[in-house]
């Protein structure tokens, strides 16, 4: 790995090496620009660090949290995330060194990567397009602000990102969930086919197989999925999208790319006037502070990490005339949903292949058809879930013990159908992150203080999510239906966006439609910070497509000398 030279001025610095950082660096280096990428996390070696074939019996506590595991103990917040276990704890940030605070009475789960590739290593890979129901939501229901772009503006970039990363899925022809350029779809289980038939016949609602960034055939030189299951532990066959095994490889191939891990950026440095000159960062291997210089600074540190850098760059936040910086925190309503037993499938044998995907029920409320209007809330939600077949876990609810009990456990299975809602959280200015006046991280840098709550629209949506979910499972013939009506704290969906929103007007938005600061023209924020509203689909595909679109604009303006 090359070391950064303190004297060299790069064409651009990219802060963060995840999904969006990889795309912007790829486009810039392939256009001939010299790029320095600073990544706060550590370097890793797929051969040793990707442990996706770990089975429970390979672990002394079979994957249950091990109090002797110091890595895990230092990730007491990160381990909220299902993907953070003793197998891969060091892909996640150290909560002791990197604290954040919460306003009294509020809770926030901030799950962060600590590795080259960031959360693109551990992401859930679900890849859906937003539609004009999202980009123009304010025009439809009057709440908030439209995006400065429409679906037509981003559609060609969705196409290009999907073709490159490989997204499997089935075309459905739905306005709410635009089709993409898909690899062959994954299959439904029998129970899922039954659910789809029920939704079609009794509810006139579509259901599709999850669209996700996993290869269902060989693609762009990468092998197809071998269905081991836990993609979040890494993939030695490189069969799901992450930046280190794709975009960063392309960057490296240009010979114009310098990647520095363990480099935690503190602030954006400014020239006299309204131009950025580079960044100041902590070299976590030496704990020394260093500076790096460039003509252009692109923050891709993840929404809240980029926001923290900007808040730490100037009193009141750098270039924050709009006062939007840190406000409008959004995520998806997470953890609420229903599950029921599908008696008709009792005894079905689970496949050995572990499909890293589920089903998707697109938003069906508050669409253009007046019959879909729900008077209790605006916007909507989709369901993710599917059929699960137990191998032994049903033993916990079988009565008795002994030989007959054991034979029953081993000869029977239970099928359950789960529907988990992902609902839109409205952009509210009071849902906000600021710098904590007292708490600092290990390197003395002020940390974020989260102040976010769910509102009445979200709770009304949750109630509908549960009622509709129950109705669908009952219509399918499910029994023993259970529900979770308590949404997890904001952040738990790990879809946090919106704290430097884009817009046409500098007084009501932080960035323009190309994710460029309205006032510091060589400063870009190309992660989820730009979101104006969050819709209800997983955000990474949209974030990558926006970064591709914005970086092509950046390269064009750079070549014309307009960013200096």
């Amino acid at each position: 790995m090359k070391q950064t030279s303190d004297t060299k001025t790069y064409d651009a610095i990219v802060v963060g090496s995840g999904a969006t950082g990889g795309w912007t660096a790829k486009v810039m280096t392939e256009a001939g620009m010299d790029v320095l990428m600073l990544e706060a996390g550590r370097a890793f070696d797929p051969e040793n660090d990707f442990r996706e074939h770990t089975l429970p019996h390979d672990m002394e506590l079979r994957g249950r949290p091990d109090p002797r595991n110091e890595l895990l103990q230092r990730r007491h917040r990160q381990s909220y995330c299902y993907a953070c276990t003793e197998v891969n704890a060091d892909f996640f940030i150290d909560d002791v060194d990197n604290p954040y605070t919460e306003a009294p009475g509020t809770h926030f789960n901030w799950i962060q990567g600590n590795v080259v590739g960031g959360r693109s290593i551990m992401w859930a890979r679900q890849s859906y397009r937003m539609s004009d129901y999202d980009f123009k939501a304010a025009s439809m229901d009057g709440y908030g602000m439209d995006w400065p772009i429409s679906y037509a503006d981003i559609a060609p970039y969705y196409d290009r990102v999907e073709r490159y990363i490989g997204v499997n899925g089935r075309k459905e022809g739905l306005e709410i969930l635009p089709d993409g350029d898909f690899l062959p779809p994954m299959a439904f289980t029998c129970g899922e086919v039954m659910l789809k038939e029920t939704l079609t016949e009794k509810f006139n609602r579509p259901m599709t197989i999850g669209r996700n960034a996993v290869l269902t055939r060989r693609h762009n030189g990468r092998d197809m999925c071998h269905y081991c299951g836990p993609c979040h532990y890494g993939c030695r066959t490189n069969s799901y999208f992450n930046s280190p095994q794709t975009t960063l490889v392309d960057c490296e191939a240009t010979g114009r790319f310098t990647l520095v891990p363990d480099a935690a950026v503190i602030k954006v440095d400014m020239l006299a006037g309204d131009l950025a000159s580079g960044v100041t960062y902590v070299d976590k291997t030496t704990n020394l502070t260093r500076e790096a210089k460039a003509d252009i600074v692109v923050l891709c540190a993840s929404t809240l990490a980029s926001t923290r850098i900007l808040l730490n760059s100037a009193e009141g936040g750098l270039a924050n005339e709009s006062d939007c910086l840190g406000r409008y925190v959004m995520d998806h309503i997470y953890a609420t949903g229903v599950r029921g037993v599908l008696e008709a499938r009792a005894g079905a044998r689970p496949e050995r292949a572990n499909r890293p995907n589920g089903i998707y029920v697109p938003r069906f409320q508050n669409l253009k058809d007046p019959a879909t209007k729900n008077p209790n809330y605006i916007r909507g939600y989709g369901y993710q879930g599917g059929e699960n077949i137990t191998t032994w876990q049903h033993g916990n609810s079988l009565p008795g013990f002994g030989a007959d009990f054991k034979r029953m456990v081993e000869s029977s299975t239970v099928s359950t159908i789960g529907l988990g809602g992902f609902g839109e959280i409205l952009p509210r200015p009071e849902n906000r992150v600021t710098l904590d006046p007292e708490t600092k991280d290990k390197w003395g840098v002020p940390v974020l203080r989260m102040n976010t709550t769910l509102g009445s629209n979200e709770y009304a949506m949750v109630q509908d999510m549960i009622e509709e979910g129950r109705a669908m499972l009952e219509a399918l013939g499910c029994t023993d239906i259970t529900q979770n009506t308590e949404p997890a704290p904001i952040g738990s969906g790990i879809h946090e966006v919106g704290t430097a929103r884009m817009g046409d007007h500098p007084l009501t938005s932080y960035l323009n439609q190309y994710q460029q600061s309205h006032t510091v023209k060589n400063l870009f924020v190309m992660d989820g910070s730009c979101y104006v509203s969050v819709g209800c689909v997983n955000p990474t595909l949209t974030m990558m497509s926006l970064a591709l679109r914005s970086t092509e604009y950046l390269v064009d303006r750079h070549k014309r000398g307009e960013l200096a």
Binding site: R62, F401, K406
Partner: protein, 208 residues
């Protein structure tokens, strides 16, 4: 009691020697007296002597050797060897002792209290601790506190809660073990390349 007797897992192959349950069952068959004490039984059964001599070298982390042996016996009653291996073959009791040794104080107290409850119940019913009872007496005692009954008498509630917790621990420990996974569930011990087939039915065909 000797600590060597607390492990039912065989080092020389699961079929090579009797399980603890079979040994205890043999004891009950040979004597059939509820009031006999444990030590005389041990001395009188050649198979158990051999079993003790064979030993496993297991030293419990949290439990005393006597508690370890009681735990092993309870696990064996929950998931005995059938046509597939049982809890003792997979070292379930060793896993549970390890897990408890790392657990919080409340979980430890609940488990230790539960083991103690079993012996107190055995003593109050039959005048001797659980391991001294014959197999049928042991099973009868456990049936009283099993979740096959929905409501338990107040005096049995604590025991039922312990046994329910132990059952969950035993299921987890057994079926996540290599032995449970491969020999009881028939799953491969390593990840293999697979293809997901999904539903193979024709439209209109039953999925049931």
């Amino acid at each position: 009691m000797s600590k060597q007797t607390t492990d039912g897992r065989s080092r020389s192959g699961p079929a090579a020697r009797p399980t603890r349950r079979k040994v205890l069952a043999a004891g009950a068959g040979a004597f059939g007296y509820a009031t006999l004490q444990a030590e005389p039984i041990r001395a009188a059964i050649p198979a158990l002597a051999a079993y003790q001599a064979e030993g496993s070298g297991w030293t419990p982390r949290l439990l005393t050797p006597a508690q370890g042996e009681l735990l092993a016996t309870l696990c064996d009653h929950i998931l005995p060897r059938t046509d597939t291996p049982g809890a003792l073959d997979a070292g379930v009791h060793e896993f549970i002792d390890l897990e408890l040794s790392l657990a919080g104080g409340d979980d430890q107290l609940a488990a230790l209290g539960g083991l103690d409850w079993i012996d107190r119940r055995a003593t109050s019913l039959h005048g001797s601790p659980f391991l001294s009872l014959g197999n049928e007496q042991q099973l009868d005692l456990l049936r009283e506190i099993s979740d096959e009954h929905e409501d338990h008498e107040p005096e049995l509630v604590a025991g039922a809660a312990f046994f329910s917790d132990l059952k969950r621990r035993t299921l987890f420990a057994f079926y996540t073990s290599k032995t449970g996974r491969t020999e009881a569930l028939g799953l491969p011990d390593r990840v293999r390349v697979e293809r997901f087939r999904g539903c193979q039915h024709e439209p209109g065909e039953s999925h049931v």
